[in-house]
């Protein structure tokens, strides 16, 4: 495997991840009969925000300013750890899957701190919900990764995803498929997509993730937007690695299949968002426990 492939994957993710958001929005607009925003709207937004000045409330401290920066840094490091299908990650070592989960936790932790730092009641509410839901989504992610590690006998993400083949995915016990379902739920939760959170809502009472970043402005908000696009890519890559088990020996074919898989995932997300109603807040934990149960079941099946 040439060394160019991982670098090319990271560059593709850096450039193309805001496009995923554009694709999701386009699919949603198309499903509801609208024309929709241009595909490149996320790029325009980020550039526009970067050119603006930031406004900081006098009640905030350095924690509030650190939030978006630490978040972007964490997700960038996570991007170097994640393989895309057969394309290995830029950085790989034994047990990097734990670091991967920890980086996502760090990102969330600093967002929550920044939200609490503003002292706004709404942001505190959003932070509390974000923590509650991700506390349930994280076991699903870790148990699923543990099940995959056990199936493939690898403790590092890249060799683990390299082992996955079509035969493994449709194996009779179906453990890998259960993990894929759990990862889909984690993907939707962590990226605050529809059955859990509505990224388009502007009613503070029902917002979860979006309410936490209400007070960020200018370049900070651009960082937040870019971070969420990259997070979409990073978590999507985990799912696409299973759902598109294309492993050829040619790295550019693997990369092409992976990127195509990412955009297919964006289309699927858009369709899911258009066809599903949002869950009532009190029902969301039950949905997430289902993800935990799927991962746990997969782990139990491969452990025996």
């Amino acid at each position: 495997m040439t060394v160019a492939a991982p670098i090319l994957h990271v560059l593709t993710a850096l450039v193309a991840s805001p496009l995923l958001l554009g694709v999701i929005r386009r699919v949603k607009a198309w499903m509801s009969g609208r024309k929709g925003a241009p595909l490149l709207q996320s790029y325009y937004d980020i550039v526009r925000l970067l050119n603006k000045g930031a406004v900081y409330s006098r009640t905030t401290t350095w924690v509030f300013r650190a939030g978006p920066m630490v978040g972007l840094a964490a997700v960038l490091v996570a991007l170097t750890l994640v393989p895309l299908g057969g394309v290995p990650a830029l950085m790989r070592f034994q047990g990097d899957l734990v670091l991967f989960a920890a980086l996502l936790g760090l990102l969330r932790f600093f967002y929550v701190l920044a939200a609490l730092d503003t002292g706004s009641a709404f942001e505190g509410m959003g932070a509390s919900r974000e923590i509650q839901f991700s506390a349930l989504a994280e076991p699903a992610l870790l148990l699923g990764l543990a099940a995959m590690a056990r199936t493939t006998h690898e403790l590092s993400l890249s060799p683990m995803y390299d082992e996955i083949s079509f035969d493994l995915v449709i194996a009779p016990s179906g453990a890998v498929m259960l993990v894929a379902v759990a990862f889909l739920i984690v993907f939707l939760t962590e990226n605050s997509r529809l059955p859990i959170d509505d990224p388009n809502t502007h009613l503070e009472l029902t917002m979860i993730h979006e309410v936490m970043v209400l007070d960020h402005s200018g370049p900070d908000l651009a960082f937040v937007e870019y971070t969420s696009a990259l997070k979409l890519w990073v978590l999507g890559a985990l799912l696409v690695g299973i759902a598109v088990p294309v492993r050829t020996d040619l790295w550019y074919l693997d990369l092409l299949a992976g990127v195509a898989g990412m955009f297919a995932l964006a289309v699927v997300t858009g369709i899911l968002e258009s066809t599903m109603a949002r869950l009532r807040l009190s029902r969301v934990p039950q949905f997430l426990v289902a993800a935990v149960v799927f991962s746990g079941l997969a782990l139990v099946l491969v452990l025996r």
Binding site: P172, S173, G174, L178, P285, Q286, V289, A290, V292, V293, G296, L297, V300, L301, R304
Partner: protein, 214 residues
């Protein structure tokens, strides 16, 4: 065909989880019907090469009852009662799901210590049969509405059936017919009882029955 046995068993586990995690009565009735269908497929898959008429007919009969008649009776009962979902269970749904996962872990651990049973290549069969029985018992204690308790009873019967399949495929027809008849009478009586309870008391919460005095 035995390779697909694992798939069937995993699907059986998933129907059990659905039964425990869902509050919609119609969906639960449908899940129990699917469970009956899966169990009907079981002997066909096990004896793919040596299938004789007797087990085939028996499987067809039990599938007809479990996936056809029982759901039909129960759906009627639920419709007549006018209740769509279990509102306030004794054990909440998330907790129920976690408890069920715990049960699955325990039964799989137990299954490893049991001697391998019968004709099955699948190591999962016996533990999952026990698991289904336990899920049925759990539903009976953890749900308030009579319909869910009947469904728990049916899940328990499915577990016993699967257990019998795991241990001896060639069990006497009389035993199997006896069990089926019992269950049939049970569901029949319970369906009528649910209907009558709801007509008398305009709800089917069985907890209230325990405070009745004569």
């Amino acid at each position: 065909m035995q390779a697909w046995l694992d798939t069937l068993v995993v699907l059986l586990i998933l129907t059990n989880l659905r039964l425990v995690g869902s509050s919609r009565l119609f969906a639960c009735v449908r899940t129990v019907a699917v469970q009956g269908l899966l169990l009907g497929l079981l002997p066909v898959l096990v004896q793919w090469n040596t299938l004789t008429w007797r087990p085939a007919l028996l499987a067809a009969g039990s599938t007809f009852l479990k996936a056809g008649v029982f759901p039909w009776l129960l759906r009627r009962a639920v419709r007549d009662v006018g209740l769509r979902r279990e509102v306030d269970p004794v054990v909440g749904y998330s907790t129920s799901l976690l408890i069920t996962m715990g049960l699955l872990g325990v039964t799989l651990y137990l299954g490893q210590r049991l001697p391998p049973a019968g004709l099955f290549e699948s190591q999962l069969m016996t533990p999952v049969a026990i698991f289904t029985i336990l899920v049925g018992l759990f539903l009976i204690v953890a749900r308030r509405t009579a319909v869910m308790q009947v469904l728990g009873y049916l899940a328990m019967e499915n577990g016993i059936y699967a257990f019998g399949m795991a241990l001896a495929v060639e069990e006497p027809v009389l035993v199997e017919l006896g069990i089926l008849l019992d269950v049939f009478m049970g569901v029949f009586v319970m369906g009528i009882a649910i209907f009558n309870i709801s007509r008398e008391f305009d709800h089917i919460d069985t907890d209230r029955l325990s405070v009745l005095k004569d």
